[in-house]
Symmetry: C2
């Protein structure tokens, strides 16, 4: 294939980036002013602003508000070619990436394929408890939640009806907290006047966390504040409570069954399977243990960044799997490459700059931590809102998202309560369709 063939006569260095998330895009942008030839491969056609994905799942935003075509983002950067394809494996010796539809030779490889949800060996749970990593995941959750209320409205048996009105969120990290808070808001404020038989206010939103506190990445005082804000919104929080089974009737909390027809998964994260094909040691979640400069041990021409990389900070704490860390890694790789190409091979260990952590809980409720400064409640929510809208890619998106939020704020309406599609197996949605 001309332009990305192993035998291409193009004399420029070829940088192949796998993954168009925050990390991969930061590398491409960082190399805009070089003469490198860049190929960015993603199995989806869009970059996704994952921090707001829970809003698509809970019908507050439509998909195009938080996603933008990779081609559109990169259209002005002439040294980038975008390929919609799936990377299957890497041949480190021959410097080739095998794709579903072809093959690419690289001079430099950046692997930034991220993470997906993990069920800790209970893969059968995925059917009953969808996780939230892609737009298709968000549509599945939206459909399940909206149809649960529809089914409750049709149910004569009070116990069965309540099982449709019981919603369980597994996992007390940011995703679980955001989903639980928003679901409680929908049940209490958005839906009540719309049903004639079932009362959405009878819905129970249960947030289950195996560990001793919510949001373990934040300061314990904020974990406690988050729990109290959730409880004020009507969420029941159970800490130190492991989920031991999930099926279509509900969950087992330790030895106690809890009837719930809707279970959402915010618990585990596993790195992209591509990490394990690189031959380097990986941690328990499948993240690649990289050198301090983010390169693959023994392969200075290969970098692993973002959620797929396991990096330890000088203070011994791991770099968290968040968007700012992925962006910083991407910028660092671009800087390392530019220095190398100038002849400067000084090693540059990656240092994570913590710009703060935020988690939103519901309408006007959030927690935030910036170094020693800790915020919660209304002020944290405003900081969260402004930070997230400011980082959205594309002016139009920012405008529409602001409009949507203002609308939802004043009316309690969530405009994207549209059920489409049917439940397809989630793994099918993550492959490039062979069409037609």
């Amino acid at each position: 294939m001309e332009g990305h063939d192993a035998r291409s006569p193009d004399p420029r260095r070829h940088v192949v980036i796998l993954g168009g998330g925050f990390g991969g895009l930061a590398v491409a942008h960082g190399l805009a002013d070089t003469d490198a030839r860049i190929t960015l491969v993603d199995r989806r056609n869009h970059h996704l602003f994952q921090p707001l994905l829970y809003q698509v799942a809970t019908a507050g935003l439509s998909a195009p508000s938080i996603a933008a075509p990779l081609r559109q983002i990169l259209r002005k950067q002439a040294n980038v070619t975008v390929l919609m394809d799936e990377a299957l494996s890497v041949d480190l010796e021959l410097r080739r990436v095998k794709l579903a539809l072809g093959e690419l030779h690289y001079d430099v490889l950046v692997v930034a394929t991220g993470a997906t949800h993990a069920y800790f060996g209970h893969d059968a749970w995925e059917r009953y408890a969808p996780g939230l990593k892609t737009l298709d995941d968000a549509f599945t959750i939206r459909r399940r939640v909206l149809l649960a209320f529809e089914r409750a409205e049709r149910e004569d048996d009070p116990a069965q009806r309540q099982a449709w009105l019981n919603l369980v969120v597994v996992g007390g990290g940011a995703t679980g907290v955001e989903l639980a808070g928003t679901l409680a808001e929908i049940a209490r404020h958005t839906l009540p006047r719309e049903f004639r038989r079932a009362d959405p206010r009878q819905a129970n939103v249960l947030l289950v966390e195996a560990g001793p506190r919510l949001l373990p990445a934040l300061d314990p005082s904020l974990s406690d504040k988050a729990r109290r804000q959730l409880e004020k919104l009507g969420v029941e929080v159970r800490l130190n409570t492991p989920v031991t089974a999930i099926d279509d009737q509900g969950v087992m909390l330790g030895d106690t069954p809890y009837a719930a027809r809707t279970v959402l998964w915010g618990a585990g994260v596993a790195a992209s399977p591509l990490g394990r094909t690189l031959g380097a040691p990986v941690d328990r979640a499948g993240r690649v243990l990289v050198e301090p400069d983010l390169s693959l041990p023994g392969h200075p021409e290969v970098f692993v960044i973002g959620d797929l990389a396991s990096v330890t900070q000088p203070d011994g704490r791991p770099v968290p799997g968040v968007a700012p860390a992925a962006k910083q890694m991407g910028r660092q790789v671009a800087a390392t490459l530019k220095a190398r190409w100038r002849g400067d091979t000084t090693p540059r260990p990656f240092r994570y700059r913590d710009d703060g952590s935020l988690a939103t809980i519901g309408r006007m409720a959030a927690v935030a931590q910036f170094g020693r400064l800790k915020l919660s409640g209304l002020l944290a929510w405003w900081v969260w809102l402004i930070a997230h809208i400011a980082f959205l890619i594309g002016f139009r998106n920012r405008l529409v998202v602001m409009l949507d939020w203002a609308w939802a704020y004043w009316t309690y309406q969530r405009h994207a309560r549209i059920v489409t599609g049917t439940d397809a197996p989630p793994q099918a949605a993550s492959r490039l369709p062979r069409d037609p």
Copy 2:
């Protein structure tokens, strides 16, 4: 089931409306000030503004911009219960509707389940040439079109590449004209700078019509203007050209094969299958031949309205299957019922008031006909734009749709170019999911 049980002790008249489109909603709204008990059944949870559906298919609008939850639309009308369910058949003797999840007894029944696309006996074509009636249809078309350009970018063989860049639209009615014009615009203006190997400007959009002119519902002079506007946009229009075969490699135009990996269907319309279960005569498309007052022959308590009804105007012309006609029929049925309940049983034959016909062709191009007044080009486009945005349900939608249009107008960008999901069989998407 209490509230909609055959043995309900509720003494109020029970009006059951099947279908939450323009017709069904008009009946519900028209009976707001009565003491009738109304149950509105739809297999989807949303009302769809179908005149703008082609904009979702061509990535100009997101789904929630043109769809609103039925419960939200009707939440303030306390005498309406909304059920998300599918009507399977009607027992006219016992006055019962069989639903997928239950049964309803009615005193008055309004059947407004609309139409779907028809393949004139070639059901196998549906796989290769999706039609456009639902949001899921629109997502399928969006995915096929966007992936065709992705595949063209990956194709080495020039003939194969061109087959991915050839797009065929079958049928020269409003849907076909709108799709063809917008696709040409996307190929010429939206995509060119985003691809490095295939040139989207090499795309051919072919609009094929078996009859002698486009937009047969309009005046012949406008058909001709529409053809010329399409050709100016780069669409190749072939009239008097029957499609005799469709498969995954292209179409047969009479005896001539035309290679195209993307074929879209805008040709045939068939009435909802529920029409044939009513025992009354139907026309060739399955539309029910109703009495002048829109009631079912021999059953004054049953009405059939909208695209499912075959009504002839006094001048012998059929009432067209358009949104304004469905709304007028719905209002008429509500008025008839209210008169009857007052004791006034004067027959009220339905008269269609033609407020004009519009079809948009592309950016700044449209044709319009209001009685003897005929417009085309820029002025017609403005009339079309204002009329469509004005009729959108919900203030927020109107605002967002205007914003989207202004954005697309100035930038040529189409923000919803997001590929999600995989190709599920279209018929699967139209059934209520049994969840999980």
